[in-house]
Every structure is written in structure tokens, then in C-alpha cells.
């Protein structure tokens, strides 16, 4: 137990230490932002510090936090639906080539339709409610998860399944201990992508459908030409996405895919 806790703590510290690279990238972004501000002026691009100040003001306001929470809830609800349905159908398609052959052209059609078109359609179907946001996310994010799950299962190492069969693992055991683990490799990056899509689509759908949340607040900022306020909402939405991604998806991925670190030349040597 102590060894497991020490291992987790070491991985967490390692992750935090790797944050220097992220901070360096952020510093570069802020430098470019500041340069843009000095070139184009305050109206087009407010300076980063003013934006951070506006973000802080929003963050400490309970009303703003409520809006952010609403958007995050909608995005997560849509993401959960998309992740679950995409993974289930993808896994079935991975095992059944006939389902895969049927699904491929459908996916091409679905992926070819821009999310904004889905927003218009779902607005007409569900009105200006949270269901519009969730349905748009479901349609936009499911294909990514589906393809990853299907590819993960279809390209699995079947030799491992045969090995498990020798040691008396039934179909369910082989699925749980072997196939699902192999599908996890392509699935996690797809889930991170789907989560990002969920937040983007949620804000967009809220804005167009006038359904409140961060999208609604952005629409108000646009109407009042309040650029710092609009940028502050964008920053808050990105922070919410980062919190969910690094609080939920990445720890799960680190837990399941931790062995890959051992393959890196600087990896964990025991």
C-alpha cells in the first residue's frame, strides 16, 4: 500500500514538475497577446492583465460562477452521453465488421455536417433549452469516440485473447481484462478531444440558442462591445475545460496507461 501511494505521489510530483513547460508556453502566449495589444490597441485586444482582472472579477461573482457551472454541467452531460454511446457502439462495431461497414458512411455524413447546422436543427427540435446543447454535443462528439473505440477493438492483439483463453478466461473475462485495456490506448485521446468539443459546442449552442450559461454571457458582451468581458468569459471557459480534463480524463489515463512511461528512455525504472 505504501509503495502504491509513493508511486502515485512520485507521478503527481513528476506531472507538476512537467508544468514548467506549460507555464513557458503560457508566458509565450501572454507575450504575443501583449504585443498584439500594443499593436492594435485596447478596443481590439485588451491587455492580458486587464483580461485577467476581468476574469478574476467574474470568478468571484456568484452569479458568474452559476453561469459557468451551468455551461460545465451541460457540456459534461453531453460529453457523458457522447462518450457512453460512442464507446458502446464503437466497441460493437470493433467486434462486428458488418456494423463497422454500415457505420463508416454514416459517420462520414455526420462528420460532414458542421456543428452550427446541428445547433439550428436541435433548436427547432428541442427549443432554447439545455436539451439543445446536450443533443448538439452528442451528435458532434460521438463520432470521435466511436472511431477510437472501434479502431481500438478492431486492431487489438488477438494473440493476447488466445493466451487468456488458454488460462480459462471466458468471453467476458477476455473483454474486460484484455480487449478493453487495448481499446483504452486510442480511446483516451479521443475522450479528451470529445471533452474539448463538448465545451466548445456548449458555449456555441448557448450563444446561438440564447440558452444562458457562458454562451449567453458572451452574447451579452458582444452586444455591448465589451471585449475584456468577452475575453474573460473565454478564459473562464478554457479554465473550466482544463479543470475537467486534468481532474478527470488525464488521471484516469495516467492510471491505466502508466506502463507506457516505462517505455520512454527517461521512464520509470524500477
Amino acid at each position: 500500500m505504501t509503495r502504491i501511494l509513493a508511486d502515485r505521489a512520485a507521478r503527481l510530483l513528476d506531472f507538476l514538475w512537467s508544468g514548467w513547460a506549460g507555464l513557458a508556453a503560457l508566458a509565450l502566449l501572454f507575450a504575443c497577446w501583449q504585443a498584439g495589444h500594443e499593436t492594435w490597441g485596447d478596443f481590439i485586444l485588451p491587455d492580458p492583465l486587464a483580461t485577467l482582472g476581468a476574469t478574476w472579477s467574474l470568478a468571484i461573482s456568484s452569479e458568474s460562477r452559476g453561469l459557468l457551472l451551468l455551461t460545465a454541467q451541460r457540456a459534461l452531460a453531453g460529453f457523458t452521453l457522447a462518450a457512453f454511446s460512442g464507446a458502446v457502439i464503437g466497441i460493437i462495431a470493433g467486434y462486428a465488421p458488418a456494423v463497422m461497414r454500415l457505420a463508416r458512411p454514416l459517420l462520414t455524413v455526420v462528420l460532414g455536417v458542421p456543428p452550427i447546422a446541428w445547433i439550428v436543427l436541435t433548436m427547432m427540435w428541442f427549443g432554447t433549452s439545455g436539451a439543445t446543447v446536450a443533443a448538439t454535443i452528442l451528435i458532434s462528439a460521438t463520432p470521435v469516440v466511436f472511431v477510437a473505440a472501434a479502431e481500438g477493438i478492431a486492431s487489438r492483439d488477438r494473440g493476447l485473447g488466445t493466451m487468456a483463453e488458454v488460462f480459462r478466461y471466458g468471453a467476458l473475462g477476455r473483454f474486460w481484462f484484455i480487449d478493453l485495456r487495448q481499446a483504452a490506448a486510442p480511446l483516451f485521446p479521443a475522450l479528451a478531444l470529445a471533452l474539448g468539443t463538448s465545451f466548445k459546442v456548449a458555449v456555441m449552442a448557448e450563444m446561438l440558442a440564447n440558452a444562458g450559461g457562458v454562451g449567453g454571457a458572451l452574447a451579452r458582451a458582444r452586444a455591448m462591445l465589451d471585449v475584456p468581458q468577452a475575453l474573460a468569459w473565454v478564459v473562464l471557459a478554457v479554465i473550466a475545460l482544463v479543470v475537467v480534463e486534468y481532474g478527470l480524463i488525464r488521471p484516469m489515463q495516467a492510471e491505466i496507461e502508466g506502463w507506457r512511461r516505462a517505455a520512454q528512455p527517461w521512464g520509470v525504472k524500477k
Binding site: M163, A164, I256, A262
Partner: protein, 250 residues
């Protein structure tokens, strides 16, 4: 004494092309039988049928053993599990209480001559030979009374292959399991087995059987070499074991 494994008139076909026909073979408890034959003669298919992984088109497999294991040509280790977890993977379905598993893993690792510090490593951190040792330990962990070896050392270099063969000889002596050892290497068969069965060039039955003198562990280099020379130059049974042209196979 009843057989540890009995194959009765086994026949199989892939896409309408017959690969095995009328295979009869009996293996006694504690006996290691090497099945030799040219590449593409259906040796691996027969091992998979005997292990219950492939349903034969004809014939009957009668296992007389309680628990089997298999060692494949590739180690087939779970890349996300450490060596110890890979060995323990076989124990999940062996109905062994969880608290007894670490001791069983350690015992199997000892038989496979794995160093304790290697048990915490992932397969990607191990060399080819070490991975095959883990695969052997995984098979031994369930304390099988029958092991199927499907050309397990083909991909290894000569020195490593010999060490692995010695390992199997020692483990068979200690654990007293019976085995069907598939190989196309006659010297390997002569070192490891009690008996050699030669598969027909076209998979039409077992062409013949030869009982080898003495126990595998007691056979010295000179005896092995002499047997090889005699079989290849004087015994018509072994005349064609290197002859096949796989391009002509279905």
C-alpha cells in the same frame, strides 16, 4: 495408466483446404512428446486443436489432465502489467485464493530462474529472453499437469534457445508435467523430449514415432548429436522434415 492427452482421428481444414487428416496421438502422464515436421505441415494447428483453442473438423480430443497451460512462439505478455502481474494473470482463473498468489508467483519465477528485481518490470523493459522466461513462469504458475509448447524458442538466438531448453528440461523434471512440444528443430526435440512424433509432410497423420533413449536431462551432447546424425542420414522417417516448399502449401 490412462493417457494425459489422446488425439483420435483429428482432421481440420481452412477454407476448404485440408491441413490435417487422421491424426492419432497419445501422450502419457509426465511424458514430453516433441512433434516435428516441416513448416506449414499443420503442427501449430494441431497444438491449438489439442489445447481446445480450435474446434477440429473431425475427430476427438480427450484430455486426461486436470489443468493445462501453453507457451507460444511470442511471449504474449500483457504490456500494461509487470512481470509479476503477468505471471499472476494465469492465477485469476485457477481458483487460488488471492492471499496465496504472491507465493505462487514467486515459486513460478524461481522455476523460470527470474531475478526478484525483474518481477516489478514491465515487458517493454525486458529482453526477448526475459520475456519468454516470464511466459514460462506464467505457464508454470498454475501448476499444470500438461503444457503445450508452440515453437516457443524459434525467435531466440542459439545460446538463449539452449538456456531456455535447459530451463524446460529442469522444470519438467521438477514439476512432472506432460507436454506436447511443437518444433521444427530436430536438435531441440532430441534435447527436450522422451518421444518424437513426425507429422506427415501434408498433415496426413503421424508419419511415425521414435522413442528416445534415457531421460531428457540425462542425454549428453554426444548422444544428442549422434541421434541427430542417425535420424537425418539413416532413418527414412526424418528424410523430408526439412524438404517442404511453403510456397506450394495451400
Amino acid at each position: 495408466m490412462s493417457a494425459a492427452l489422446e488425439l483420435h482421428r483429428i482432421g481440420h481444414a481452412y477454407f476448404g483446404q485440408s491441413v490435417l487428416n487422421s491424426i492419432d496421438l497419445q501422450i502419457a502422464p509426465g511424458e514430453v512428446v516433441a512433434l516435428v515436421g516441416p513448416s506449414g505441415s499443420g503442427k501449430s494447428t494441431l497444438a491449438h486443436i489439442a489445447a481446445g483453442l480450435v474446434e477440429p473438423r473431425e475427430g476427438r480430443v480427450t484430455p486426461g489432465y486436470a489443468r493445462h497451460a501453453m507457451i507460444f512462439q511470442e511471449p504474449r505478455l500483457l504490456p500494461w502489467a509487470t512481470a509479476a502481474q503477468n505471471i499472476g494473470f494465469a492465477l485469476r482463473r485457477a481458483k487460488l485464493p488471492r492471499r496465496l498468489r504472491p507465493a505462487r508467483v514467486a515459486e513460478a519465477a524461481r522455476l523460470a530462474e527470474l531475478e526478484p528485481q525483474d518481477l516489478a518490470k514491465y515487458p517493454v523493459e525486458l529482453s526477448g529472453g526475459m520475456r519468454q522466461r516470464v511466459a514460462i513462469a506464467r505457464a508454470l504458475a498454475v501448476r499444470p499437469d500438461f503444457i503445450f509448447f508452440d515453437e516457443p524458442f524459434t525467435a531466440l538466438d542459439v545460446a538463449l534457445k539452449r538456456r531456455m531448453q535447459d530451463l524446460v528440461i529442469a522444470a519438467a523434471e521438477e514439476a512432472q508435467f506432460a507436454a506436447l512440444f511443437i518444433t521444427h528443430d530436430l536438435v531441440e526435440a532430441l534435447r527436450i523430449a522422451h518421444r518424437i512424433a513426425v507429422l506427415d509432410l501434408r498433415g496426413r497423420g503421424i508419419a511415425g514415432l521414435r522413442i528416445l533413449p534415457g531421460d531428457p536431462g540425462a542425454r549428453d551432447e554426444a548422444t544428442t548429436f549422434a541421434l541427430r546424425q542417425r535420424f537425418l542420414t539413416e532413418d527414412p522417417l526424418f528424410r523430408h522434415i526439412h524438404d517442404v516448399d511453403e510456397r506450394r502449401r495451400p
